[in-house]
Symmetry: C2
Subunit: 271 residues, 2 copies
């Protein structure tokens, strides 16, 4: 009896704190699907933007104050924030949790964040911000941007991956970019560790005139993959694998650094 | 005579197009200092935000249209845009230049963008966006955020580095993060190729009450350097060198990718 009590107490003590955020806003079906998928794996706390913040990249709010308010009837402890996804992570640690969570999850995003999208994505920037803070983090994105998207397959893999990561000792700055193909759950072949494909958007702005005759521009663009590698996220997703790309916040191009260093003559010591 | 004519024609043809943007806005002294420093090195065209966009990271404008308008009496061709620094680069290529510029410069930023700042910085995100488009690019930042900062040293090195880069064959995706110490020009020891230091902000939000008693939060934070390396941008700047960090948009953590791959059991083919 005493033993059972002790183990239950220690199990309780060890229950991980799972911070969840996103960039589609706290009311998006994707974040609710993520909460449902993992809520029995730890103590879940949601701190998410009060409005859509897609494409915000790693923006932070400077020069304006932030608001934070509790959301009732959310199923788990939930807070909405007036700022960006990155602001949400910073505020969650300092003012909601008053400590670092054991893991930070972001998503499930409505739409792809594979390849170059990682750099524009508020979902992935929130995850990357957590990893700067030495909080293991995972961003999840489903390749279906519709509100009524089917999150069943994404939920299954989100749960599997979170369990896998929580069960092992992780790299201090672990950050995973997980994308899930928009296919029936039965078609999913597994989750594959990949690298970011070299792809980009071929942009074209749609030029229009407002009622007073003044021009305005809508961003449009076509995603073009230049990368033929079979180890990329784009390849994995096309072949019905969930793609898992470990990402980092050190942007140094070490290869180019070594190259430039050889021909550099603006460091007087090297002349 | 014919020969002289030909070489003058070919020199004219080869005059590089230099796109300049920033994140402090088109009226900031820093961007004007950059234009002055390089305007005789090519045909300079400015496309910059119509208001301050610091901390915007790699944000793009989705769900709202953009405005673009010509600015008169700027000294060179200049356009202001209602969007983020990244939007400026995209619009400049598609709607102002109708081609890729030969180089894209961003800045001179009022304040440091060394180390982890690279990820929050609109200045550096504009440069990185250009490099995604295979346009060689350089972001410049002075470690003095005041409007009345002295840009003399920054201008000297901006010019030297742009000349150096324009004179050589460059990596397709060359992108340099250049920071200049806020010291007298005579104190500057040269420009050094570096890596991004591992540093971060220790955040603390300043909590206040508005007149109606509702809480709001101001982001504040102290920059803390954890990196003792002498090859970092932080070290270079402390020692009165201009720091030059080559950066990239491939966020894949290749080292972690190899590590994770070994213990990964969610790819059925590997079981």
């Amino acid at each position: 009896m005493a033993k059972a009590k002790k183990s239950s107490k220690s199990a309780k003590k060890e229950k991980p704190i799972i911070l969840i955020t996103n960039d589609d806003g706290i009311t998006a079906p994707g974040i609710k699907a993520l909460v449902e998928a993992v809520k029995d794996l730890g103590k879940v706390v949601v701190v998410a933007p009060d409005k859509p913040q897609s494409g915000m990249g790693h923006a932070i709010t400077i020069g304006h104050p932030l608001r934070l308010s509790k959301v009732e009837n959310y199923g788990v402890e939930a807070w909405q924030c007036s700022g960006t996804p990155v602001d949400c992570v910073k505020l969650a640690v300092d003012k909601v949790l008053h400590r670092k969570p054991d893991i930070c999850l972001s998503g499930i995003n409505h739409g792809a964040n594979h390849s170059i999208n990682v750099i524009y994505s508020g979902t992935m920037s929130a995850a990357l911000e957590a990893s700067i803070e030495s909080i293991p983090s995972i961003g999840f994105s489903l390749l279906d941007f519709r509100l009524e998207a089917d999150f069943t397959g994404a939920q299954k893999y989100a749960r599997l991956i979170v369990q896998h990561i929580l069960a092992q000792k992780n790299d201090k700055h672990l950050c995973l970019n997980v994308n899930i193909p928009a296919v029936d759950i039965k078609m999913l072949k597994g989750a594959k560790i990949c690298r970011q494909a070299y792809a980009k958007y071929e942009e074209e702005f749609d030029e229009r005139n407002d009622p007073s005759g003044k021009k305005y521009y809508w961003l449009t663009g076509e995603f073009v993959n230049f990368d033929k590698g079979r180890d990329t996220d784009v390849w994995a997703l096309k072949n019905n694998y969930v793609s898992v790309v470990p990402v980092q916040f050190d942007l140094t191009n070490h290869e180019l650094k070594d190259k430039l260093d050889k021909n550099w003559n603006l460091d007087p010591k090297k002349r």
